[in-house]
C-alpha cells in the first residue's frame, strides 16, 4: 500500500526505508517550487511558520494527485513544535475535501510508543521485531543522508571539481534510497567515503569558515533554500552545520545534557531541542575560531524566533559577525544573494584587517 508525506529535504528517503521494511511504500514528495508554496499559503493561516506552509503545500499537491494515506514523523513533548498537533490539524484541513484522507503519526518516544503508532496505521499485525527492523533502517538512512549532505557541502568548498561533487551527491542519494538492508547501507557509506577521497582537491585552503545554525527543516532543504547557501561553498567558503533532521531524530537526554551545559549561560530550562542545538553549536563555532555565523530559519518559527535575540547577544559578547536570515514566502533569491554577498564581503574585510594588524 502506498502512503505519502512531506519531504524535509531528502529525509523522506528514510521514511520510505521504514515503510519498505514493513512491506509498504511511500510516494516521492513533489519538489518545492512556486506552485507548492502558493498551495501552502492558501491552506495555512498567515501566522503559520514558512516550514509549515511548505509542508502543507506538498501535502495538498499530493492529495490533489489522489494520495490518501498520510504518515508523518514527529516528536511529542517539550521539544515538539506545531508538528505535534499535525494529526488533528491535517484532518481538519484536508478531511472535508478528501473523504478517504487519513493521517497518522508513526514516530514514537521509544519502542513501545513507536510500535503503538505503527499499529494505529498499519493494523495490529505489525510485530515488535518488524518495528525494530523498520526503525533500524530509518535511523541508518537518516545517518547516511546526513553524512551525504554535510560531506558533499564540505567537498564543494575543498574540491576543484564541483560538478563531480554534484554527481556524487545524486548517486549517493539514489544508492541510499535503494538500499534495502543495513549491510547495503553500510556499503553505501563506505562507497561514499572512497569516492570523496578520490575527488580532486583545490590547492588553497578555505578563504572563510562560516558556521550555520537554525531551523532543522530549512537546513534540510538542500535542493531549494539551502542551495543558495551552498553556492558559498563553491566560492571556497567552508560551510559547516551540525544540526539537522538526524540530530533531532537522535536527540535524547544523554546527548543533549552536554549541549545544555554549554549553553546554560544564555538558555534556561526548559529549552526545545532546536534551541539547544542552535545555541550550543553557535558557541562551538565561536570557540573553534569560525569567521562568522549564519542563522537560517523559517519566518514564524517560534523556537528560532525566540532564540534570535539570544544569538545576537552571543555574537555581541564574542565579537563575531552574525547574519540572521528569516526565510518566508516573500523572500527573493536576489535579495538573499545580496545579503549573503554583503556578509561575505564583511567577513573577508574583517579577516584581512585582522591579518594586517594581528596585535590590535
Amino acid at each position: 500500500m502506498r502512503h505519502f508525506t512531506f519531504s524535509w529535504g531528502t529525509n523522506y528517503i528514510a521514511v520510505r526505508g521504514l515503510l519498505k521494511a514493513l512491506g509498504q511504500d511511500l510516494a516521492t514528495p513533489p519538489a518545492i517550487n512556486t506552485s507548492i508554496i502558493e498551495q501552502g499559503i492558501h491552506a495555512a493561516h498567515p501566522f503559520l511558520c514558512f516550514s509549515g506552509k511548505l509542508v502543507l503545500g506538498q501535502l495538498h499537491e499530493q492529495i490533489r494527485q489522489g494520495e490518501q494515506r498520510m504518515v508523518f514523523m514527529s516528536s511529542l513533548g517539550p521539544e515538539a513544535c506545531r508538528c505535534a498537533d499535525t494529526s488533528e490539524y491535517m484532518t481538519s484541513l484536508f478531511g472535508p475535501e478528501c473523504p478517504g484522507f487519513s493521517s497518522h503519526r508513526i514516530g514514537g518516544d521509544g519502542v513501545g510508543s513507536a510500535l503503538e503508532n505503527l499499529r494505529s496505521h498499519f493494523g495490529q499485525q505489525v510485530r515488535k521485531s518488524q518495528c525494530v527492523r523498520a526503525y533500524a533502517m530509518f535511523f541508518g538512512k537518516v545517518d547516511v543522508l546526513d553524512k551525504i549532505a554535510k560531506s558533499c557541502t564540505r567537498m564543494r568548498c575543498l574540491s576543484s571539481g564541483p560538478s563531480l561533487v554534484q554527481a556524487l551527491e545524486t548517486e549517493a542519494l539514489s544508492r541510499t534510497d535503494r538500499a534495502d538492508s543495513l549491510f547495503a547501507l553500510w556499503r553505501t557509506s563506505r562507497w561514499l567515503d572512497r569516492a570523496i577521497a578520490k575527488l580532486p582537491r583545490r590547492s588553497r585552503l578555505p578563504a572563510l569558515r562560516i558556521g550555520v545554525v537554525g531551523g532543522e527543516h530549512i537546513l534540510s532543504e538542500l535542493g531549494t533554500i539551502m542551495q543558495k547557501l551552498r553556492h558559498l561553498a563553491d566560492q571556497g567558503i567552508l560551510l559547516d552545520w551540525r544540526g539537522g533532521f538526524r540530530q533531532l531524530a537522535r536527540a535524547d537526554e544523554r546527548r543533549l545534557a552536554p549541549l545544555k551545559r554549554s549553553c546554560s549561560t544564555y538558555l534556561q530550562e526548559p529549552a526545545s531541542t532546536s534551541e539547544i542545538f542552535s545555541c550550543a553549536h553557535a558557541l562551538d563555532f565561536i570557540h573553534e575560531g569560525y569567521d562568522g555565523l549564519l542563522h537560517v530559519y523559517a519566518f514564524g518559527c517560534m523556537p528560532q524566533t525566540s532564540l534570535k535575540p539570544i544569538l545576537q547577544r552571543i555574537a555581541q559578547d564574542s565579537h563575531i559577525p552574525l547574519l540572521s536570515l528569516a526565510i518566508g514566502e516573500r523572500f527573493t533569491e536576489e535579495g538573499l544573494d545580496n545579503r549573503l554577498e554583503a556578509f561575505v564581503d564583511l567577513l573577508s574585510l574583517r579577516k584581512n584587517t585582522d591579518r594586517e594588524s594581528p596585535n590590535e
Binding site: H45, F47, P78, R82, L93, Y266, M302, T305, S306
Partner: protein, 302 residues
C-alpha cells in the same frame, strides 16, 4: 527587598496569583502600570518585529520595571502541565532569557523559578522553589499560597459586563482580553454599542489544561475549549476572537475553530498598527449583523 512584577502575560494569565502570594508573605511588590502607548514603545524599541504583540508589550513592562527601584523582577518560567502532554508556547518559556539577551536587565536581577501548571493554576512545587530562593520556609510558603488562593476566588475580575440585549463573548488569551490597550478597549466599545460583554472566568470554565482537544499548546487548547463551551451557551449571541499578531498556537487553530463554530464568530487580529476607527467599524458591522438576525427571529434589539 522589593520585587517587581510585570502587569502583563503571566501575571494576567494566572490571575495575579504570584503577586498575591508575595503579598501574603509580606514581601513588598511593585506592579508595573497598566499598558499604554508609552509602555508599548519601551518594548517595541527592544524586540524584534517578528515577535508577537504580547511579547513586545511584556518587554515594555520589563523595561519600565528595570528603571524603578526594585531589587528583583519576577519572571516565572512556565514549563508544562503536570501531565507533561500540554505545553506553553516557546516565547512564554523564553521570557527571562530574552530579557537578559536584550539587555533589559541583568541576570542577577531576575527571579525566574520554573512552574508547572495544573487544571486550576500554578503547581505548588514552583512556589517552593521561589520560597527557597527568597529564604522563606516551606510552612510560611504553604500558608501564603493558601491565602493567595482564597483571595483569588474572591477576586475574579472577569464575567459579564453591562446589560445590553445582545451578549457577546470575547475569546482569547487572558492577557489580551484583560489588557485594554492591547485589545483596543474592546469591552468599552461594545458596551458603547449597547451590548453585554462576557469574558472567560478562569479556572471555572475551560481550566488551564482542558482535555479532549488533542492540542499540544495550552493556550490553543483553552481557546478552542472556550469556543466549544460558548457555542453551546444560549445566552451568548456571538463570539469575538482576539488573535494577537503572529501568535502561532491560536493562528494554527483559527480557521478550524471558525469553521466548526455554529455561532457567529468574528476574528480580530490585533497589532500595534490597529486604528480605533477601523476596529469600531468592524464591531458595529458585527453587532448590526447580530441585531438583524435577532430581529428576524422576533426579538427586538433595542
Amino acid at each position: 527587598m522589593m520585587i517587581g512584577i510585570p502587569r502583563s502575560l503571566l501575571h494576567l494569565e494566572f490571575n495575579g496569583t504570584l503577586a498575591r502570594y508575595l503579598q501574603a508573605l509580606d514581601i513588598p511588590t511593585m506592579l508595573s502600570p497598566a499598558t499604554d502607548r508609552g509602555i508599548f514603545r519601551l518594548g517595541k524599541r527592544l524586540v524584534l518585529d517578528e515577535l508577537c504583540l504580547p511579547i513586545k508589550v511584556f518587554m515594555g513592562h520589563m523595561a519600565w520595571l528595570a528603571e524603578q527601584s526594585v531589587d528583583r523582577i519576577l519572571i516565572p518560567v512556565i514549563v508544562a502541565h503536570e501531565n507533561n502532554r500540554v505545553f506553553p508556547c516557546h516565547m512564554r518559556t523564553r521570557l527571562a532569557d530574552m530579557a537578559i539577551a536584550l539587555g533589559v536587565c541583568t541576570k542577577e536581577r531576575i527571579l525566574s523559578p520554573a512552574f508547572r501548571f495544573t487544571a486550576s493554576g500554578l503547581a505548588r512545587d514552583g512556589f517552593d522553589v521561589l520560597a527557597h530562593s527568597l529564604g522563606v520556609s516551606a510552612q510560611e510558603s504553604a500558608a501564603a499560597l493558601l491565602t493567595a488562593s482564597t483571595r483569588e476566588v474572591k477576586a475574579v475580575p472577569t464575567g459579564t459586563h453591562g446589560s445590553g440585549n445582545l451578549t457577546l463573548a470575547i475569546l482569547g488569551h487572558r492577557y489580551v482580553v484583560e489588557d485594554s490597550w492591547i485589545n483596543g478597549f474592546i469591552i468599552d466599545k461594545l458596551r458603547g454599542l449597547g451590548c453585554s460583554v462576557h469574558t472567560q472566568c478562569l479556572p471555572a470554565e475551560s481550566g488551564y489544561c482542558p482535555d479532549g482537544t488533542g492540542l499540544h499548546f495550552d493556550l490553543a487548547a483553552r481557546t478552542l475549549t472556550m469556543a466549544r463551551i460558548w457555542d453551546l451557551d444560549h445566552s451568548i449571541d456571538g463570539i469575538i476572537f482576539l488573535l494577537p499578531f503572529n501568535c502561532g498556537p491560536d493562528g494554527d487553530i483559527a480557521r478550524h475553530m471558525v469553521e466548526t463554530t455554529n455561532k457567529p464568530i468574528m476574528t480580530l487580529v490585533l497589532d500595534e498598527h490597529q486604528s480605533s476607527a477601523g476596529m469600531l467599524t468592524r464591531l458595529e458591522a458585527f453587532v448590526d449583523l447580530l441585531a438583524a438576525e435577532s430581529m428576524a427571529q422576533g426579538a427586538p434589539f433595542l
